[in-house]
């Protein structure tokens, strides 16, 4: 494995994970996206995704809103020693597992500043099955760039490259879903429509 992301693990915190899934549930009829916030682990062998900011639920392919959001988000988190380390995308149709052009372009852009950045794609079927399956693995697919800078799916079977930090994350997620917690999620679209809405979602996990 020659690429810089070749051996890295990716670890997703519960807070980031739940925020992203709830955001998708809040806009079930559109595609949505978000950014992953985190850092490289002290042992240099993992990307730790500590938080996430939901971005948009309309016109994902337009630049102005993306540029503004990345500027403001990067500015906020760099003061805390964290970076934008990846991108999250949920397709409009539940059976669409393709990583589209918009997602790849945004992923590439993030890689310019954080070369080991990853893309998480929502796995709708897995999400739907979650209530019955008691699966502990994340309802997202992980994509990283190979040596030729193409986005490749990281196979999940028995793989230790992608994990949820807290093993009970799915249980907590299901609980939040049953209490319709997705209603309170604020994304950057909401913020731009009304700046008094906070894209940090501070009260979400209280």
């Amino acid at each position: 494995m020659g690429s810089s992301s070749g051996d890295l693990r990716y670890e997703l915190s519960q807070n980031a994970y739940i925020k992203l899934v709830l955001h998708s549930l809040n806009h079930p009829t559109s595609s949505v996206n978000g950014v992953l916030i985190g850092r490289i682990s002290p042992s240099n062998d993992a990307v730790l995704i500590d938080d996430a900011v939901p971005l948009f639920h309309s016109h994902l392919g337009l630049l102005p809103q993306l540029e503004i959001s990345l500027m403001l988000i990067e500015e906020y988190f760099s003061a805390k020693g964290l970076n934008i380390v990846g991108y999250f995308h949920a397709n409009e149709r539940s059976d669409d597992y393709e990583l589209g052009g918009v997602a790849k372009n945004i992923g590439d852009h993030i890689c310019r500043y954080f070369p080991q950045a990853a893309i998480l794609l929502l796995d709708n079927k897995k999400l739907e099955a979650l209530k019955k399956s008691k699966d502990r693995s994340a309802v997202t697919q992980l994509y990283v760039r190979d040596a030729s800078k193409n986005w490749k799916l990281v196979q999940s079977e028995g793989n230790s490259r992608f994990s949820l930090r807290e093993p009970s994350a799915n249980l907590i997620l299901l609980d939040y879903i049953s209490t319709e917690k997705w209603k309170g999620i604020v994304d950057f679209d909401d913020h731009l429509d009304d700046i008094s809405k906070d894209w940090l979602n501070p009260g979400l996990f209280n």
């Binding site: 630049l63 102005p64 403001l72 918009v102 700046i195 906070d198």
Partner: protein
């Protein structure tokens, strides 16, 4: 498009009905009037009326409208049995109705029986070739099957006939944007601006698309349309204010040293920046530091 007043009224009614405070019929009528997609609520509250014989008969002839509304909502929520029952009731009452025929075809769609649905729509169209709803279902079916080029084709055909359908132009523009076909999206917004020049939403979307396309001419035009959006919205549109700042910065990067352009440009930009900072100070003060830094970096590069 929904106005602020209508949105507030809807939210008020919705929470009232959700908390068993009555007003279900009023809510359902408002949802129908505004053509909103609130299928889970419509299903829940609509069924509570339909399953209650006295409430149902109190509706009089509107009873059938409610059956139709609930049928569509049920299909959206994949409660196909409920939908089937509603349609059965309607079929019994209106045995020769094309409107019920549409619902039956919609049910085929909801089941995923694309070919059967397509046949049903085609035959309905034979008798009524100008039925807009059915034409639009063709687009929706293509989209649902992941056939986006097909959806675009159908939508373009639709717009050749019904060129005044603004929602259709918007839908087409959004599909183009999702495929990164920005020139084509721009064309759609141009049509919209031509027919409704005082709607700021179109100016803003057009500007966003032009900025995304890039290049000096597009950036300059984008800036004009962000400015017209600011005009039309009394300076209250945050996206347009940001847009002006982004454009000025980008234009200067591209031109690098044409002084005439710079002086004019930076005036509008610094005005926009001031308005943004004032607004953030008032309504989002904890986000002000990041805003100030971001604006500084945009003005420094110009």
């Amino acid at each position: 498009m929904v106005t602020k007043t209508e949105e507030n009224q809807l939210n008020r009614l919705e929470s009232q009905v959700d908390n068993a405070g009555g007003g279900a019929w009023e809510y359902l009528c408002l949802v129908r009037k505004l053509k909103l997609r609130r299928s889970d609520k419509v299903l829940k509250h609509g069924l509570s009326i339909l399953n209650n014989p006295s409430k149902r008969s109190a509706l009089g002839p509107e009873e059938w409208t409610l059956y139709e509304q609930v049928a569509v909502a049920a299909m959206d929520c994949q409660s196909l049995d409920v939908a089937k029952d509603c349609i059965k009731v309607l079929r019994k009452k209106f045995p020769d109705s094309k409107r019920v025929g549409r619902l039956e075809a919609l049910l085929l769609e909801a089941k995923g029986s694309w070919e059967l649905a397509d046949k049903a729509y085609s035959s309905l169209l034979e008798d009524n070739p100008l039925d807009q709803t059915i034409h639009k279902r063709r687009v929706a079916m293509a989209k649902a099957q992941g056939n986006i080029p097909g959806a675009i084709e159908w939508l373009n055909k639709y717009l050749e006939i019904f060129m005044a359908d603004h929602d259709a132009w918007r839908e087409l523009a959004e599909i183009y944007v999702s495929l990164q076909m920005y020139k084509q999206a721009a064309f759609c917004y141009e049509e919209l601006i031509l027919s409704q020049p005082t709607v700021p939403l179109y100016h803003l979307a057009y500007a966003d698309v032009l900025y995304t396309l890039g290049g000096l001419e597009n950036l300059q035009t984008a800036k004009k349309y962000y400015t017209s959006t600011i005009d039309l919205t009394g300076g209250k549109n945050t996206r347009a204010l940001f847009g002006v700042c982004l454009c000025t910065s980008a234009i200067t990067q591209v031109t690098k040293g044409k002084s005439k352009e710079e002086k004019e440009g930076s005036q509008v930009q610094s005005l926009a920046a001031k308005v943004l900072e004032k607004d953030y100070k008032q309504r989002a003060p904890d986000k002000l530091p990041q805003l100030t830094t971001a604006l500084k970096s945009l003005t420094l590069s110009s």
